[in-house]
Amino acid sequence: MPSVRVLVGTRKGAFILTSDGARKKWDVSGPHFGGWEIYHVKGSPVDPNRLYASQSSGWFGQLIQRSDDGGKTWTPVDNKFVYDGVTGKHQWYDGTPHPWEFKRVWHLEPSLTDADTVYAGVEDAALFRSTDGGASWHELSGLREQGSGANWMPGAGGMGLHTILLDPSNHQRMYIAISAAGVFRTDDGGQSWKPVNRGLRSEFMPNPTAEVGHCVHRIAMHPSKPATLFMQKHWDVMRSDDAGENWVEISGNLPTDFGFPIDVHAHEPETIYVVPIKSDSEHYPPEGKLRVYRSRTGGNDWEPLTKGLPQQDCYVNVLRDAMAVDALDQCGIYFGTTGGQVYASADAGDSWAPIVSHLPAVVAVEVQTLA
């Protein structure tokens, strides 16, 4: 019988939740790395027992942990993230040039074809790769040196490279997203990059339609339709059907188009999910109602999903890396909150229940569907 493993990163450690395919009863393991911030944990699609975790602390800096047994035991691997060549300067909050400084790893994306290859998106924004299971890291500096870096600037949460999408149909192509720079695409395995932000509009910028500087919160892709991308921007939900070359708004009837995560149903490439948040000044759901919105039409027409979710006095946030889907026949949707709940739906969002309720603030949720 298939089973599911949910990898949860929180402000104070990692937790691993497991269930059988029914997804009704859950076992909770953890905290792993108790007291440390776990920005992300993700498993290799090639070897599901190979997990990578980003562990960091304001006191002790960045560590990367690796597990070869599905999270039962962990080994610290290399934590040297050294920018390649001249690091250069980006734009600081006050508009002045500011040198790139490594702060932490936001996101780890294991390769689709090799368990020892994994990408790391870091703050200050850059992309690193390991091809030896985390034993060493090397920057793909073509991104940072792409030419627009001087105009990138940190969002309030820092200038993080938070999203890495690998194209399953073309191993030379990948997408990354940076707050606040935008989306970039490579078609040569990470050597060279170009910004793909045409159609985005960000009113906080002097030129709202500039090529870079957009605060993209998350992008998502369905593996069967890799040229179609979905985006939750700081404000606006967007889609592209030409590999990011052009974006159109699909916010439609959402109560607010601010938010952080966006994800795609495992079997329906036009079914997408967002969690509307009231505003960038108030990082909580509108009306105190925690609602996931689902569109079955690839955007514009959205329906609220509320069954099992708190519909009064709820003021949590759902962060950008804190939503994931499983690949069981009846697709499961999962998200974690800054209030420490992880909610799951075993029926594609029709109904929800908390699978754990009192964790530290949840930063990241990933799901593995195990045979």
């Binding site: 007291g35 440390w36 602390s57 304001g58 006191w59 002790f60 800096g61 960045q62 560590l63 610290p76 934590n79 040297k80 050294v82």
Partner: protein, 98 residues
């Protein structure tokens, strides 16, 4: 033997309990102690000082013999009681709430 006291999280990371004992050739300085510590416990690399610049991480302090040595040169010899193992070298994390 040089005695080193690590904060809780670094003891957990290194898998040690209590004080760490190190062989350190003279001169005994912050740098030679940290070099020996990182050689014996490679997982501690980068957690107390920057990999490249060797600068102390901002929220850590180095104490010994009832003195804060954090702002001394990393190459300055440490007090004699530390060098002969009578007093430990303490790596201390900043106090913080939350």
């Amino acid at each position: 033997m040089i005695r080193v006291v690590l904060p809780y999280h670094l003891r957990m990371l290194a898998g040690v309990q209590g004080e760490v004992l190190l062989e350190v050739a003279a001169p005994v300085t912050q740098r030679t102690i940290l070099d020996a510590l990182e050689a014996k416990y490679p997982m501690l690399g980068g957690t107390m000082r920057d990999h490249a610049t060797k600068q102390r991480r901002a929220f850590l302090r180095f104490y010994a013999n009832q003195q804060d040595l954090s702002h001394q040169s990393p190459d300055e010899p440490l007090p004699e009681p530390v060098a002969r193992g009578a007093e430990p070298f303490l790596v201390v994390g900043a106090i913080a709430g939350g």
